[in-house]
């Protein structure tokens, strides 16, 4: 690996000062599972890495039935996968976590890193958006909150400025009658990047759908909501014909590219298939 200077700040202030001191040439370093690969393969240039792991309290993961989840920036994907309350109340995120890379990678990789890397195919992003997660950000101008839905600008690009650090997330508690799902469509079962990812968070009121968010991954420059598909079902009884219609609407709303993993046309077809299945899974869980 090319030589880099290594910094270990112990406070957020110090971390932000380091980023300010080295405009353009410093990178935050949390899990490192993307960063070290990019530095080694020279797809990212950095003369300074700023390791966040010595900053206290960024590794907290808590759940409260009313307040929901708080997840610090250093919480690993493996910790989420092993947390019983993530499995019980955030099934989409749990499914995404356990399908990301391998166990040794998940032991290091952080949820915050997966978010800041902003890959269009990243597994954890669709369920976080479907669950209305909020990112907590600290920077030279102080603290601010950004919803995950508004966080991504393009492949590898987010609303964070160079100096800003993502300190953690809040994810609201699910309302009663809520079911969630995430389906990753790939060419193999493990160590895969999603060809298409679909996350659904759905709340039933009696027999009809009161609230619904469908989020598609890997079919646009960022993860995207499928609002037309959501509107097909909101306020209605989720009959099979309507689910089919929602899946068709999701296809119409996706804008995939062709790449080494799949053609755009195949991706569109799989958006239809997996949106239907993700809706069915979430419905089953909600009932």
């Amino acid at each position: 690996m090319k030589r880099v200077d290594y910094h270990e700040p112990t406070t957020l202030e110090e971390a932000v000062q380091l980023m300010t001191r080295y405009p353009d040439t410093a990178s935050f370093f949390a899990g490192g599972t993307d960063l070290l690969v990019e530095l080694r393969e020279q797809t990212r240039r950095a003369d300074h890495v700023v390791n966040l792991k010595r900053i206290p309290d960024l590794g907290m993961l808590t759940f409260d039935p009313r307040a929901g989840v708080h997840c610090g920036a250093l919480v690993t994907v493996r910790t989420l996968e092993n947390a019983p309350f993530i499995r019980a109340h955030y099934a989409g995120l749990w499914q995404a976590a356990r399908e990301l890379a391998s166990i040794p990678v998940r032991e290091r990789a952080t949820l915050a890193g997966n978010v800041c890397r902003a890959s269009p195919s990243a597994d954890t992003l669709p369920p976080l958006i479907a669950d209305q997660a909020v990112a907590h950000v600290y920077g030279p101008a102080g603290r601010r909150d950004v919803t995950l839905e508004d966080f991504f600008l393009g492949p590898g690009r987010t609303v964070l400025s160079h100096e800003e650090v993502l300190t953690g997330f809040s994810i609201p508690a699910p309302e009663p009658g809520t079911g969630k799902s995430y389906i990753k469509h790939g060419r193999r079962k493990a160590m895969e990047l999603a060809t298409v990812g679909v996350a659904v968070t759905l709340t039933l009121d009696g027999d009809s759908v009161r609230d619904l968010r469908i989020v598609l991954g890997a079919v646009a420059p960022t993860p995207i909501r499928a609002p037309e598909a959501e509107q097909v079902l909101i306020g209605k009884r989720p009959e099979p014909a309507l689910i089919e219609q929602a899946a068709e609407a999701a296809i119409a709303g996706s804008r995939p590219i062709s790449d080494v993993r799949s053609s755009a046309d195949y991706r569109r077809r799989m958006v239809g298939v997996q949106t239907r299945r993700a809706l069915q899974q979430a419905l089953e869980a909600a009932r």
């Binding site: 690996m1 200077d5 290594y6 599972t33 070290l36 080694r40 390791n51 391998s102 166990i103 160590m191």
Partner: protein, 164 residues
């Protein structure tokens, strides 16, 4: 500039001088002279460099040595109980013929140990799930999985023997 780190490797505390951008894998292989952990892909895809860091399995190519100051690392060299007494996993890998070229074997043994520490009685699916990040290009997975299953049964019998 090199940094001094203190790290416990296979139960032995060592002080090592490392460049901050050096991976734990290179440090183990070069500075510590432990070449059992293999460099397959160097990007976290193959699992041949898997070690146990503070009780958790990690790809040592994706960890910087500078990060492991005051940490505990267990490598394949530390798996066996004594020079003449191999771990049950190692014994069963030999019995089952679970190694062909052998390059992936250290990483798979370490991942197998990490799995059995967490889940002493894994199903075949659970073993396959745990080994998803360990690639064997001789593709001898069946025997690897059988060897791990058998080890789990053996260790369970030993535990029962101790209890009764």
């Amino acid at each position: 500039m090199k940094r001094m780190i203190t790290v416990t490797i296979n139960g032995e505390e060592q002080e090592l001088a490392v460049e901050p951008y050096r991976s734990l894998l290179d440090t183990l292989r070069v500075e510590a002279g432990l070449t059992g952990s293999k460099k397959g892909c160097n990007v976290g895809d193959c699992g041949a460099c898997t070690v146990i860091l503070d009780g958790r399995p990690v790809n040592s190519c994706l960890v910087l040595a500078a990060e492991v100051d005051n940490c505990d690392v267990r490598t394949i060299e530390g798996l066996q109980h004594a020079p003449d007494r191999v771990h049950a996993l190692q014994d069963n890998f030999m019995q089952y013929g679970a190694a062909q070229c052998g390059f992936c074997t250290p990483g798979i043994l370490i991942m197998g140990k990490a799995l059995l520490d967490e889940n002493p009685d894994p199903t075949e699916d659970e073993i396959r799930f745990a080994l998803a990040g360990n690639i064997c290009r001789c593709t001898g997975y069946t025997k690897i999985i059988e060897a791990i299953r058998h080890t789990a049964r053996q260790l369970a019998e030993e535990r029962q023997g101790v209890e009764s």
